[in-house]
Amino acid sequence: MSQIISSEQLLSLIRELLPTKNVIAPVQTDNGQIYFQTLKESDSPLLTEAMKAVNTIKEFFFPRHEVLYTFVRHGNDVDVIDSVPMEKEQVIFGCRPCEAASLPILDPLFAWDYQDRFFQIRREKTTVVTLACREADEHCFCSSVGGSPDNTSGSDVMLYDLGNGSFEVRVLTDKGKSLFAGKTSSSQETGSVCDTPVQKFDVDAVQNWLKDNFKNPFWDEMTYRCVGCGVCTYICPTCHCFDIVDEGSFQKGQRVKNWDSCQSALFTLHASGHNPRETQGQRQRQRIMHKFSVYPEKFDRLLCTGCGNCTRQCRTSLGIRPLLEAIQKKTEEN
């Protein structure tokens, strides 16, 4: 016995939520791309198009630009006005399991040496309705990092596209329960997912190799073609580097938090002029090691969910998977 909901019912649930909550789903923009966006009344959400989306749901928990506080001077006094991270509640529809899985991965980081209320409040106020995958492409590698086409980690509800205009609804948490309460009907139909992507590399073997190969010329050789644009870091659901800057004038300004990228040439430039990571090979090495060595050591989980966005968007077809597959080959050679 399962619970199902039709597309029309799902869309009308979404419309009911619009007045009081931020509802996010994939939408087609004027230039023909698919984006996760906060829905307006006039938008038609494309619930099954998450794989083609150019952005990820990361930005609804960790925005690309966030005001931390505003300051206004009056003579010798200063008013400091804290920002409120998010007033309304938020519901995300139609993301992939690999994107939802990034949320529990990031939780310990934003609760580590500093309780980042900007992230935490958004997590508390958001319900994630994930769509289990009916298709995978050659860039997907969730299974190589412990994921799967219907991995429930980070999701409040898992929807399965039944292919006939309806979705099976599997409620996973209390938040999910209250969202879908009374909206579903019983059925005998159950959803299925696509085949699990073939395993592309063995994480243990890769992690062992990383321990001993810090100085391997592999890093430079594999990354000559990287131009250092950083798109991989921006559309990665788990990358989280940020830069805090002050903007404004003497009278009035804001302290803001913006996305930053470890792939940018000046990321580690010191005030002295020394740059410990001055080649792209060093920067790419750092990214891989952060995700597969350092983060697991600190927080006991990989900083990668195998979504494949990095390679999909990279103009020179680099990204995490090609690098790890190459490392896998190296471990097999020995």
């Binding site: 923009t29 004027d30 230039n31 023909g32 791309q33 984006y35 150019v54 690309r64 630009h65 050659e138 860039h139 430079d220 990354t223 000559y224 073609r225 131009v227 250092g228 644009c229 950083g230 798109v231 921006y234 559309i235 830069d243 800057v245 903007e247 803001v256 913006n258 996305w259 990228s261 940018s264 000046l266 001055e278 080649t279 792209q280 090979g281 390679t311 968007q313 103009r315 020179t316 077809s317 680099l318 998977r321 090609p322 597959e325 190459a326």
Partner: protein
């Protein structure tokens, strides 16, 4: 043509004329990407087809690549103009690089479903045999009869620009507001551009901050205006920026505006003639001033 390309590359490496050949190849994912051949035996990895979209000249100013030694580079007609501009701007000497030009029938767009179509920038390209190169692979049969300014304005990016300029000023502003609202300030445009080679871009300077680094409309307008203007009279129209932009912003139109002014107003065609002085670094007493009171 691939055979001739591979033989040329092999010979250059074997004779020690260059230490690396920068060209297109099949990368691990099966797609086309830049490859850096240092061993003559690997010269057969070089490919040439209508998917070879990237402008490889951007690698010539990257220090990781310069460390490899003297390079030979595979260029299409558009890319070859970038090399000329780099030489005109004293970033490269003639004997710093060996330029291998390949005759290009146009690059195809495969992204999305449906049949591949010619990229917008290729629709108005008629001189498809590279000029000012050291080796030429292919011949003039790839060239098309030149287009008049009027004919050109109805094709490719020129047509798109004409359509934009037919809108009212408010409509244009709204268009760019929409475009720049998607900008995430990843600087993929800057990184993939062969002519953005500053060691420290002005947007990276923070004492004082000249351009907000935030991905707000204010910062995004300022950044895109700045980059377009810094390319005035220099942009060679390779389209690498638009191609690299993950948000699909129509950067081509901004750069094309200035490149058109450069051609029509100043008869300056960037990258066509070695030894040409830069557009902004020079002036003429006859420059128009009908807009100056």
């Amino acid at each position: 043509m691939e055979k001739q390309l591979r033989e040329t590359a092999k010979k250059l490496l074997q004779e020690g004329t260059v230490q690396v050949v920068i060209g297109y190849g099949r990368v691990e994912t099966g797609g086309i990407g830049a490859i850096f051949v240092t061993n003559p035996d690997n010269a057969d990895n070089l490919v040439w087809n209508q998917e070879c979209s990237q402008n490889l000249v951007t690698y010539l100013t990257r220090k990781e690549i310069r460390k490899l030694g003297k390079a030979a580079i595979v260029v299409k007609a558009c890319d070859a103009r970038a090399v000329v501009v780099l030489k005109n701007e004293s970033q490269l000497e003639n004997n710093d690089v060996v330029v291998i030009g390949v005759a290009c029938p146009g690059i195809l767009n495969h992204r999305g479903s449906g049949d591949p179509v010619l990229q917008a920038r290729c629709e108005t390209c008629t001189e498809r045999l590279p000029k000012n190169v050291d080796f030429v692979i292919g011949d003039e049969s790839v060239n098309l009869p030149p287009l008049s300014v009027e004919q050109r304005s109805r094709k490719g990016n020129y047509a798109k620009l004409a359509k934009l300029m037919a809108m009212t000023q408010e409509e244009r502003f709204r268009f760019w507001k929409d475009e720049f609202s998607r900008c995430i300030r990843c600087y993929a445009c800057r990184q993939s551009c062969p002519l953005c080679y500053c060691n420290q871009c002005v947007v990276d300077k923070n004492r004082p901050v000249r351009i907000d680094t935030s991905a707000t409309l204010k910062g995004n307008f300022a950044w895109n205006i700045l980059r377009a203007f810094h390319l005035a009279g220099r942009c060679i129209g390779c389209g690498a920026c638009s191609e690299a932009c993950p948000a699909g912003i129509e950067l081509d139109l901004l750069n094309l505006t200035l490149s058109q002014v450069s051609e029509l107003e100043f008869h300056h065609f960037s990258g066509q003639e070695p030894g040409t002085a830069p557009l902004i670094g020079t002036y003429s007493e006859g420059d128009k001033e009908d807009f100056i009171q």
